[in-house]
């Protein structure tokens, strides 16, 4: 897996979300592998700003032409921002999943929770094990 597919500076969940921590504000999206598996994304449903999430809770839905899939919160906290561009341009998730295709920002409830996420290397192994 290359750096563009699994950037080294991010954390990952086993459910194929990535997390980028900026002093407790954690931006969430889905990984390159996830968007590739889904194919053309046509619809992303995101939660309201202000909603409190438990880790592992379903916070949204992502639909491609062929499939529908839940989005799981990798960490607990409050939603402080969502990517409104995805409403009219869900294809941004395919085009730039680690950039303009981000989903939401969670204000962390407990900073230590980030430690439970996978690093790039561990996530890369996780993806490869699933593929074989």
């Amino acid at each position: 897996m290359s750096e563009t597919e699994i950037p080294a500076n991010l954390k990952y969940s086993a459910e194929d979300e990535w997390a980028r921590d900026e002093e407790g504000r954690v931006t969430i999206g889905i990984t390159h592998y996830a968007q590739d598996q889904l194919g053309d994304i046509v619809f992303v449903e995101l939660p309201e700003v202000g909603r409190a999430l438990e880790a592992g809770e379903v916070f949204g839905v992502i639909e491609s032409v062929k499939a529908v899939s839940d989005l799981y919160a990798p960490v607990a906290g409050e939603i402080v921002a969502i990517n409104g561009d995805l409403e009219s341009q869900p294809e941004l998730v395919n085009a730039d999943c680690y950039g303009s295709g981000w989903m939401c920002v969670i204000q962390l409830a407990d900073k230590s929770e980030l430690q439970s996420l996978l690093d790039a290397e561990a996530y890369g192994r996780h993806v490869q094990e699933r593929d074989h």
């Binding site: 194919g39 053309d40 046509v42 619809f43 449903e45 839905v61 639909e63 032409v65 062929k66 529908v68 395919n94």
Partner: protein, 373 residues
């Protein structure tokens, strides 16, 4: 569990970077690059599909035609050599065993092209109902099938065959070489765009596939997978066996009444179908557009004023229309065009309304007001 089977193009699909899925027991490409771009290639230029998983059942001998006449929902005697007809194989209670295309290959011979999932069932069904002097043969394994679909199809195919394609009308077929391999060329398809289905020997399939892709590339031809095939056929309002059709669904409910034609002797299932026609239908297949957000998928419930009135059989975003569309069985009183409905999408009621099928104009229906071929 039986092993997943492969078509002769399996290696070629993998080389082209296809994502392979199990469909009807075959490893098939669902997409090469993206369903939407392959869909658009077919609508604007052309796409090439491997549909070798589909089955071919040949009838031959003095009783071939009369056997087919008794089993199929449309006249077969009157089908001339070189003609193709879409028809239904029905069971005693008027349900659909399969929907097939019938090729009149000669005075005493014909071929049925059947759905991959139904090959064994159809073959047993036909053999069971055929007299001794009709030779019935399952030619599925030795037959390869490509679908070349889209407005550029004729121009692309003309580069690889001396056969006159200009005069090959829709629902007609001819024989002639394609890329120097023996082929049967049929002006038919399952996309709602103009195009051809090309039958070749399984052993010649890869040569023909590669030749078409190479020669067609400059005219916008792309390999296309089952994902695009499904969105294309849905836009064209064509049923998919196992979704809109099954052993317990009548062709009348599926809106296929025009493919059930009266015959002096009737056909297997015709009594049950006529009885249903006389009694009236309690449910009907409708097309719908989703007005709200989301994609209506097969199995989702359809409601009217909070009451369940049916369920979705197929649903997808429509790349051509930019809307979410689908088909559903609903109680007859709610089947009129413009009727507002709710689709229950993951526990949420999302507004939709009934629209005419097909969703997009198709060559078969835009041309003339001629009866179906």
């Amino acid at each position: 569990m039986t092993a997943v089977r492969r078509t002769p193009l399996y290696e070629a699909h993998v080389r082209l970077g296809a994502r392979m899925v199990d469909f009807a027991g075959y490893a098939m490409p669902v997409q090469y690059t993206s369903i939407i771009s392959e869909h658009e290639a077919v609508r604007k230029h052309a796409g090439l599909f491997d549909v070798s998983h589909m089955g071919q059942i040949e009838f031959e001998g003095p009783a071939a035609i009369s056997t087919a006449e008794r089993l199929l929902s449309r006249p077969i005697e009157s089908l001339r050599t070189g003609g193709v007809r879409y028809a239904l194989l029905c069971n005693d209670h008027g349900g659909v065993v399969d929907d097939v295309t019938v090729y009149r290959t000669g005075e005493q011979s014909l071929m049925l092209c059947v759905n991959a999932a139904n090959i064994e069932k159809d073959f047993s069904w036909v053999v069971e109902h055929a007299p001794e002097n009709a030779a019935i043969r399952n030619a599925s394994d030795e037959t390869g099938l490509l679908a070349l679909q889209g407005p550029a199809s004729q121009s692309i195919l003309a580069d690889l065959t001396p056969t006159d394609l200009e005069d090959l009308r829709r629902y007609r077929f001819t024989t002639g070489p394609v890329a120097d391999r023996k082929a049967m060329i049929s002006r038919t398809g399952y996309t709602g765009s103009d195009g051809f289905e090309i039958y070749v020997r399984a052993s010649d399939l890869e040569e023909v596939f590669e030749a078409l892709l190479e020669r067609g590339a400059s005219k916008g031809l792309e390999p296309a997978g089952l994902g695009a095939r499904d969105t294309l056929r849905l836009e064209a309002g064509m049923p998919l066996y196992g979704h809109e059709l099954d052993d317990d669904t009548s062709p009348l409910e599926a809106g296929l009444g025009r493919f059930v034609e009266p015959k002096p002797e009737g056909f297997l299932g015709s009594n049950a179908i006529e009885q249903l026609r006389a009694n009236g239908l309690s449910r009907q297949l409708v097309g719908f557009e989703v007005d709200g957000k989301g994609v209506a998928r097969a199995g989702y419930e359809v409601e009217k004023s909070g009451k369940i009135i049916g369920s979705v059989t197929s649903g997808s975003p429509s790349p051509s229309l930019g809307k979410s569309i689908g088909m559903a069985y609903v109680s007859t009183e709610h089947a009129r065009v413009d009727t507002s409905l709710d689709i229950v999408i993951r526990g949420r009621r999302v507004a939709a309304h009934v629209v005419d099928i097909p969703f997009v104009p198709t060559p078969g229906r835009t041309r003339a007001k001629a009866p179906p071929p």
